[in-house]
Symmetry: C2
Subunit: 289 residues, 2 copies
């Protein structure tokens, strides 16, 4: 079974917990809206790719780790779109969760997705109970304090903010968790796999800043020009357009170089090369060609 099928199946099973008897139906609808139809699923594909490179001897746990990371990513988007943050009416080309379901259910859907990410891990860890502690720590630390997504988002409420730290926490942390959790789910040492995810996460954030600067709302599927509009830190504002493109290329090369020795290293290298080539916005890669 290919990675995308494994991921969608694991996410469906997770949302199924909300759609079973007993759950308020509108909350379940808001959660499904946040997770489906699928986004790029970049982080869970990365998680499964690393688990595969490390032997993938507990595939149910690897799938739960991948789904857990995607649920946390979706939760962060739902809360980021709230009126008190970006106040975004659209996401992935359709109404954001709060625009479609109201602000109360958007707050609650985000909360429920965060909790669900840990409920999933605990259930799947029956396959390899000794690995649960590392997985909860790796994934929890990438979302919470002191240096996870939530901490990254909170830098927007501080009078001063370091761009590199902001992006490392807001985006890089969950990429680093994706590679580390893929390794941990397969019983490998999580720590040596963080650098790969860290570099990819920063590359992904720079690419997102580039898209925000050069694409319009229809191309992005969400409001464009948000960084400038909200005076938010952005690689394009900091380095200029060509500087940000050069930074993206450096980060992609560093990611490939960061893959640790393992049985599946060369196959993984090919995956990472293909993923990073897709990061540059089409408009810029066309003009560069």
């Amino acid at each position: 079974m290919d990675a995308v099928t494994r991921i969608e199946r694991a996410l469906s099973a997770a949302i199924g917990l909300a759609e079973g008897p007993g759950c308020p139906p509108r909350l379940a609808q808001a959660m499904r809206h946040a997770v489906f139809p699928k986004g790029a699923r970049v982080r869970p594909r990365l998680c499964l790719a690393v688990a595969g490179a490390c032997g993938d001897d507990a595939p149910v746990l690897a799938e739960a780790a991948a789904a857990s990371i995607e649920l946390l990513h979706c939760a962060s988007l739902v809360h980021d779109d709230l009126p008190c943050f970006d106040d975004a009416a659209t996401r992935r080309g359709r109404p954001s969760v709060h625009a479609a379901h109201g602000e109360p259910l958007a707050v609650l859907a985000g909360d429920a997705l965060i909790v669900l990410s840990f409920q999933l891990l605990a259930r799947a860890a029956q396959q390899a109970p000794a690995r649960l502690g590392a997985l909860v720590t790796v994934i929890g630390d990438s979302v919470g304090v002191p240096r996870g997504i939530v901490a990254g988002q909170a830098w927007e409420s501080e009078p001063r903010c370091d761009l590199a730290q902001y992006q490392r926490e807001k985006t890089g942390s969950l990429f680093a968790a994706a590679t580390a959790a893929g390794a941990a789910a397969a019983g490998a040492d999580a720590a040596v796999w963080r650098l790969l995810g860290d570099r990819l996460g920063e590359a992904y954030q720079v690419a997102d800043d580039l898209r925000d600067a050069v694409e319009d709302e229809q191309e992005m599927g969400k409001p464009a020009g948000q960084d400038a509009a909200h005076h938010r830190p952005s690689a394009v504002l900091q380095y200029g357009l060509s500087g940000a493109i050069a930074r993206l290329e450096d980060l992609a090369a560093e990611a490939v170089a960061a893959i640790p020795d393992c049985p599946g290293a060369s196959a993984l290298r090919a995956v990472i090369l293909s993923e990073t080539r897709r990061l540059l916005p089409r408009k810029l890669s066309a003009s560069a060609a």
Copy 2:
């Protein structure tokens, strides 16, 4: 060391993770504001009391479970107070988190406290790794979907809502988790301990509805009359004042009867009796005397 000291020490250590280097200082302040100075700590005291009755052979894990449950309770209060829910300006006799720190940091502090509750468990479970799965499941299920606090709160967004189910999820679920997690942390069977927490949780919710109906804002430390103002389900609205008092007394008796056989059963019975006697609002116990 007494239970209150153990709980406050564990909560301080948890919030210390947010106050260490690297975390946005205003987020750390908002999280501290949500957790200190102490509330009644009813749920974590219940958790430690059950762990004690079951032998408490992994005290660090029991303290983490107790702190985890209190962090989740605090997170739910922070999010409940948001403008899109109760829009409460005060809590525990002082400004609510969003009133003091703004809405963005209130959303993020709640999110970070939810994640922190699982980070704590994973760290403490090094003392007894085989117990982590049961703890994350018991605690996660009590907060998320399909029947945890978040699901309970989401019933307010449904056209129809069953009062018993609403209160069981919104309050009872975390009480049931407190007793079940206390047992799980001590290596005992969690399932047989749920009924005690379930009965106590419903008693606590009925007492809260009574306070909301008969006390003023100064006595409660938060806005009074919220249930009637928001047309919210409430035991007082459903049963009347004397009916709600009778229901509270029945639930307290059922809680005491639900304590499973264990070495510390009689000591625990005394704790439960003393806790339930304190639930009736002073104004009503004075007029009843």
